[in-house]
Symmetry: C2
Subunit: 260 residues, 2 copies
DNA sequence: TGAATAGTGTCTCTTAGACAGTATAAG
DNA sequence: CTTATACTGTCTAAGAGACACTATTCA
């Protein structure tokens, strides 16, 4: 950052600095008793109202957009994301991750407005709270296919596209999946979450996945009173419960071996 | 991005939007004829002058900082990074990658100034051009250790720290190494580049690395006139030349297998 | 008992990693 | 003929992937 230029002429400064959040969740739709549910990756979008608080026409009215808001001068975009998420959904403590900045000239008709984009993984349960805090008509959970088809405000299509790319990458390379799951889960649940985003034969094939998963260093079987803890929530056969531990896997294209 | 609030009161807007670039290179110091050179990861920093063009005292004068500059309202931070890099070094066409935004209140005494941070990999050759375009006294290539010890302007220590983290990650997970190497290179050169950043026994061990590397899907042996092309620039024994192809490796913690 | 989910047994083929050995050319 | 680099041979143990088989429970 060179300040010479800054003083040498009057620079045009941005007209706004926004923080936007792509809120993802995976919904489970029951597929019958004792069956693993069908899962879908969904994104939360809000419909922009026709007028603002003062009754003036709203920009990009009627279109769907990512939740978010303007960053205040005494906070970071990260904090704005936390605050807005809490205001809109009543939920905090979620893992928020920055993934990009959108600053193309002309991306917002109001002027030179930057967007600092984040994504968030929300466990399905959080949605139940959300429904009560806001009118369901202007906040919706959409599948990715639907979200990319509807009329999106600003450059939010591009932002959502990118967010999905980052989610896929992080799902494959990190233990991100844990944020989509309850603390204790069954292998078919993990498999279901992974398959909403990844397309990998070794995950898809039951035999391969059920053999491999218990050996993963970041997963551990749950015990209770010295006995392995099982659940039959998705099957007649009681299935072993697992949880993520704190192991952070590191992979490399040159060595392939998991390390942490 | 909700516009209600935008219209409902006069928002404070940022005082500046900067684009900073962490320029990395790996220097080779000859270790004697027919020996692989010793390599060091280095970063390019500039020393902030005491006064600006108009003779006014400069902010953070005398400290070292990342090259960069203010984003103009008709360009993106990415374009600013390209422009500044060209202005400062006379070189274009480098791979510029965004990795973060720095927006903590108080990070810059001049006001609310955001920094959009990028890193760049510069091949060693580019530095020779650079030396001629600028006074060498206020642009220096420093080892990482040195860079993190000297007096850095603003929050550039944090930015550099983060940049190094991203470089290490990308070096392990992508074919980033190619940007540190000539088009055709010998395996010991690749090994040297990787070892400046990664600490992996399967890279460090010659036998393992020399056996593995030729099988990597993103590397291919170079041929010329139907014969394998060799070089003895770093050894008496002619060594096979390799180049990167366009294969983009994808790894996963759940499957470990390389895919593209 | 059948049906559905949750695993295991076993086999084959490939790969990682270690250790030792061979090959090449300069001086 | 020594030395330093660049590999290759060979072994072992672990892992991936495929296919068939067993185990558990509910209705």
């Amino acid at each position: 950052m060179v300040s010479r230029e800054y003083n040498s002429k009057k620079f045009i400064t941005p007209d706004g600095y926004a923080s936007d959040i792509a809120v993802f969740t995976i919904t489970s739709e029951s597929n019958g008793q004792y069956k693993p549910p069908i899962k879908f990756l969904k994104i939360m979008l809000i419909k922009r109202s026709n007028q603002d608080h003062e009754g003036n026409p709203n920009i990009e009215a009627g279109k769907w957009a990512l939740p978010g808001g303007f960053v205040r001068s005494n906070e970071t975009a990260f904090q704005t994301a936390e605050r807005k998420l809490y205001e809109e959904t009543g939920v905090g403590g979620l893992r928020i991750k920055h993934f990009g900045v959108y600053d193309s000239p002309g991306r917002d008709d109001r002027g030179w407005i930057l967007s600092n984009a984040h994504y968030v993984i929300a466990n399905e349960e959080f949605l139940k709270n959300r429904k009560t805090t806001k009118d369901a008509s202007d906040i919706q959970l959409l599948t990715i296919e639907d979200a990319l088809e509807i009329n999106l405000a600003f450059d939010h299509r591009k932002i959502i596209d990118d967010a999905i790319w980052f989610i896929k990458k992080d799902m494959a390379l990190t233990t991100l999946a844990k944020h989509f799951l309850p603390k204790e889960f069954v292998l078919s649940e993990l498999q279901g979450v992974l398959l909403t985003v990844l397309d990998d034969p070794s995950i898809k094939t039951d035999a391969a996945f059920f053999r491999k998963a218990p050996t993963l260093p970041f997963l551990e079987a749950v015990s209770e009173n010295g006995k392995l803890k099982k659940s039959n929530r998705y099957s007649k056969t009681p299935a072993q419960l697992y949880r993520f531990n704190d192991f952070q896997p590191i992979t490399s294209v040159y060595s392939k071996k998991l390390k942490g």
